[in-house]
């Protein structure tokens, strides 16, 4: 059973429907006691980092998520949910994240190194390049996935970056360490590639995909 964490800021319907199509049992909850019984969790999220952390703290979900992750059970953050896994974000003033993974979240500058301006948000289909091995992407063909975000991850620890996309520089797209994973794009909106990635996460939760 997969638990989808409801803290008031997710595109819960699309994520849950994607799991439904994959034939997985899922539930949506904001209750740590209930979520603690899940074999794996998904942390979705759309909106601002600061608001999300405030809500997670208020509902006593921050501590719960950290404990859950350190117990070794799988956790997948999607979009803002991925960003929340890191140490801090500069969105609406600096705020602390869950700090399960090393790195900080910063805004796309909107100007590249040659002084050319580019569009923010990074919106649309971009190509995933695998940069590190992970059981999450074993035997995958590189393909396009759908992104919508104005902030992105900067990390000195390249070992957490499993895949990245190129948008006026390298944009970490799939991250992970141990049983904590994140996707900056929306797998639930990324056609067959996204569904395959979600399926692989579910298999990993069930213990089938783990090597």
């Amino acid at each position: 059973m997969i638990g989808i964490i409801d803290y008031g800021m997710g595109n819960l319907f699309s994520v849950s429907q994607a799991l439904e199509r994959l034939g997985t049992e899922w539930f949506i909850s904001d209750d740590p006691a209930e979520l603690g019984n899940a074999k794996g969790l998904i942390l979705p999220g759309v909106g601002s980092f600061k608001d999300a952390m405030t809500l997670l703290d208020r509902q006593e979900l921050s501590g719960f998520i950290k404990d859950y992750a350190s117990s070794g059970k799988p956790l997948l953050g999607i979009c803002l949910g991925m960003q929340l896994l890191f140490e801090e974000s500069e969105e609406n003033g600096l705020s602390n994240g869950l700090a399960l993974l090393p790195g900080k979240v910063v805004r796309f500058p909107g100007t590249d190194k040659n002084g050319e301006s580019y569009k923010v948000p990074h919106m649309g289909w971009n190509f995933l390049k695998f940069t590190n091995e992970s059981d999450l992407v074993t035997d995958f063909q590189e393909d396009y996935v759908y992104f919508v975000h104005s902030y992105y991850l900067k990390t000195d620890d390249k070992s957490v970056v499993i895949a990245s996309a190129d948008y006026h520089g390298e944009v970490p797209a799939i991250v992970g360490r141990g049983s904590v994973y994140g996707m900056q794009f929306h797998p639930e909106k990324s056609s067959s590639m996204g569904m395959s990635l979600l399926k692989n996460y579910l298999e990993l939760v069930e213990g089938k995909g783990v090597r």
């Binding site: 319907f13 199509r21 919106m123 649309g124 396009y144 990324s190 056609s191």
Partner: protein, 252 residues
């Protein structure tokens, strides 16, 4: 590299897709879910559903359509038409749409953009602008009410304001080119795309694959939308994309 997006647009009335769609391969050419799935298979990058229902009941039905589409489809989609309040946005986005498109309501009350972006984030808020060239002022004017009413607003100024207020994307329709199949309005598209920091979707005038190439290369559009040429099978999303690839435009 980020790809250029091709977006078919479907008009929905009282829960059914309308405006002559020729899909012999489908069981029911009026079923939004079936058509959405068809375009997904064809390689559409996104879809836009425009709710043209006149009645309250029709709008309620749209929420059900959104739910069914979101349940069966794994590509993003936008819903526009008749969205006048934060409550309207909540109903549509909670039903599973990825973005809402605001048009007349945003011109009449621009704060609506701030409210929507503040609540859901800019990425969910598309501002649709209907533009028509006005020779007397030498630029494009904003029209509302489905193109029936002219305003005093200049398109570039309004596009900038919409983005300042939190619009995450601009859906730009040239009323001069719409239905002409002579190509997108490249001057208009370029002018708006260069004036704002968010992606611009070119709309109105697509007649063949080459017009998409022009919209991206000359018009600097980030995405291009079309309705009838796809619905009437004058070309297909697949054909357009394979043509664009040959011309060096990056598409999925």
């Amino acid at each position: 590299m980020l790809t250029k997006r091709i977006i078919p647009c479907l008009d929905v009335k009282e829960g059914r897709v309308v405006k002559g769609i020729q899909f012999v391969s489908l069981r029911d050419a009026g079923d939004p879910v079936e058509l959405a799935a068809f375009y997904d298979r064809e390689g559409a990058d996104e879809l836009v559903f425009l709710d043209i229902s006149a009645s309250h009941e029709g709008r309620q039905t749209m929420v059900e359509v959104v739910k069914s589409v979101a349940a069966s489809l794994a590509i993003p989609f936008t819903v526009g038409g008749g969205i006048n309040s934060l409550e309207d946005m909540k109903r549509i986005l909670r039903a599973g749409a990825d973005k809402v498109s605001l048009n007349t309501a945003a011109v009449l009350r621009p704060e609506l953009i701030n409210e929507g972006a503040g609540y859901f984030g800019s990425q969910c808020i598309v501002v649709a602008i209907d533009a028509k060239y006005d020779e007397s002022i030498g630029t494009w004017r904003v029209y509302t009410h489905g193109g029936r009413k002219s305003t005093e607003q200049d398109v570039i100024t309004w596009a900038r304001e919409a983005v300042d207020r939190g619009a995450g994307e601009i859906l730009l329709t040239s009323m001069d080119n719409d239905g002409e199949k002579s190509g997108f309005n490249l001057q208009l598209t370029k002018a708006v795309s260069e004036a704002v920091t968010v992606p611009v979707i070119a709309s109105g005038g697509a007649g063949n694959a080459g017009h998409f190439e022009d919209a991206f290369k000359e018009g600097k559009a980030d995405a291009a939308l079309a309705a009838s040429i796809f619905h009437y099978k004058e070309t297909s999303v697949k054909e357009v994309k394979s043509f664009l690839k040959q011309q060096g435009v990056v598409v999925r």
